[in-house]
Amino acid sequence: MTPPMIELKNVKKSFGNNIVLQDINLKIAKGQSLVIIGGSGSGKSVMLKCLLGLMAPDSGQLLISGKDIAKISASDRKQVLKKIGMLFQSAALFDSLKVWQNVAFGLIQGQGLDKITAKKIALEKLRRVGLSPDVAELSPAELSGGMQKRVGLARAIATEPEIIFFDEPTTGLDPIMADVINDLIVECVQDLGATTLTITHDMASARKIADRIAMLYEGRIIWEGAKTHINNSGNAYVDQFIHGNAQGPIQMDTAKS
């Protein structure tokens, strides 16, 4: 049995008195696409940041191809990160660089490619996400939100990573643009055969991207199953979330921001 590509064991993380992750356990097999759903502020982004080594968990293990990202040396972590692409919630494009330089960044800085080759690949990746070469010369501030997400996607896939993380890929987009991004994600992931972890609160997006879906609530994974089972999960929390009901076991703490 091959070990899972990504595995989280008993991961805990809190900020002061605010316990964000209580006890997270997850496995993602190679080539699989897992989508984690959960409300705003439930700790989805914190979990991803722990997985990228950007934040240290209080305890537990975060294994990527068997290596604990929080415990390995800085140079080993750099090697692991080279296998990972990440699309940030806000796209996080470098606004001091042109669009193509953003996409080529990992190729030039991480893989040491020369500028001309890297630009050629960057233009090809931009075309892959439906952006023309004239967009490549613009600065990110000149792009709409949807276009920024596409550039972020192109940057995430530029180095052809084995693993890709998506942090709320469709948040802030209109439904049609959101669907375009979902399609692009599905296509790009299929091209690469990548293992992916997506976090979102957009059910339409989850249904489109996922092989499996897990739900994060109060710092734990309270349900996990194949996408096809989400409608009859038998879990009241999941039912409330996917139908977007105000009534149900999940109480919105409206006093808390």
Partner: protein, 260 residues
């Protein structure tokens, strides 16, 4: 019951903790300055941003200060029929203290704030996280080039400030106060010593380090959206000011405290 001692103790501990974090940040950043890869292009870009764009404000500050200084020394000196000391006192005051300090403060106002705002925005928009995921160390890519650029650019700026400051004194001395131009320059040259210039440039380099350090530190660690970035910007300028004035005192005491 609030125990005042507890409050004082907590404040001191918080301050020491902050100082420790700043020191750690400075140590990490400095270690990246010498380890490859070194981003020469970014260093050049920062030198241009810090140096060229600061020239007008630094030049004007020096010009007006040198002129005002000459006027005051003339008024004070004339009570003892000692108007001839004007060039000597102006050049010493400008080169030893006012050139580096005022130059440093003006650049800190411009540059520490700009760095804190830029890095702070990059932090809250996840651009710094994105750098890490693209196999790039933010200390090496963002902080080290700013430190190097500021350390090398500030001495150049202060050199210009010194010359323009003396020029300000010269202009008001010869045009308004009736001093002889040739004598003015001769006295200036006689009073100025090599140690004055060296100490001026060393101060400038040290101030440059703190300007970039405070801008980077507060920007890099900012959190909490636009408000957090605003706070980082203010803190960067205030702490750079304090660092400049304090290290200036230390260097002055070390260099000039013994010889008098």
């Amino acid at each position: 019951m609030i125990n005042p001692l507890a409050i004082i103790g907590r404040t001191i501990l918080d301050g020491l903790g902050e100082l420790g974090r700043l020191f750690r940040f400075a140590a990490i950043a400095t270690s990246h300055i010498v380890r490859p890869p070194i981003y020469w292009r970014l260093i050049g870009q920062q030198m241009w941003l810090i140096g060229y764009n600061s020239l007008p404000v630094v030049g004007l500050t020096a010009l007006f200060t040198g002129a005002a200084l000459a006027q005051q020394i003339f008024v004070g000196g004339s009570r003892f029929n000692a108007e001839s000391v004007v060039p000597g006192v102006v050049v010493i005051a400008i080169v030893r203290e006012l050139g580096p300090v005022l130059g440093g403060l003006m650049v800190a106002g411009r540059v520490s704030s700009a760095m804190a705002a830029e890095l702070g925005t990059m932090r809250v928009t996840e651009q710094i996280d994105a750098l890490v995921t693209l196999s790039t160390d933010p200390f090496k890519y963002l902080v080290a080039p700013r430190l190097v650029a500021a350390v090398f650019t500030l001495p150049l700026l202060v050199l210009v400030a010194n010359v323009i400051g003396v020029l300000g004194g010269f202009l008001i001395g010869t045009e308004r106060l009736g001093l002889n131009g040739a004598t003015y320059l001769q006295v200036t040259a006689e009073f100025l010593e090599a140690a004055d210039i060296y100490s001026s440039l060393v101060k400038a380099a040290v101030f440059g380090f703190f300007i970039a350090l405070m801008g980077s530190y507060h920007g890099y660690n900012s959190r909490g959206g636009a408000q957090g970035v605003g706070k980082a910007t203010t803190n960067a300028v205030v702490s750079a000011f304090i660092a400049i004035l304090f290290t200036n005192l230390i260097i002055t005491v070390i260099v000039f405290g013994v010889t008098g």
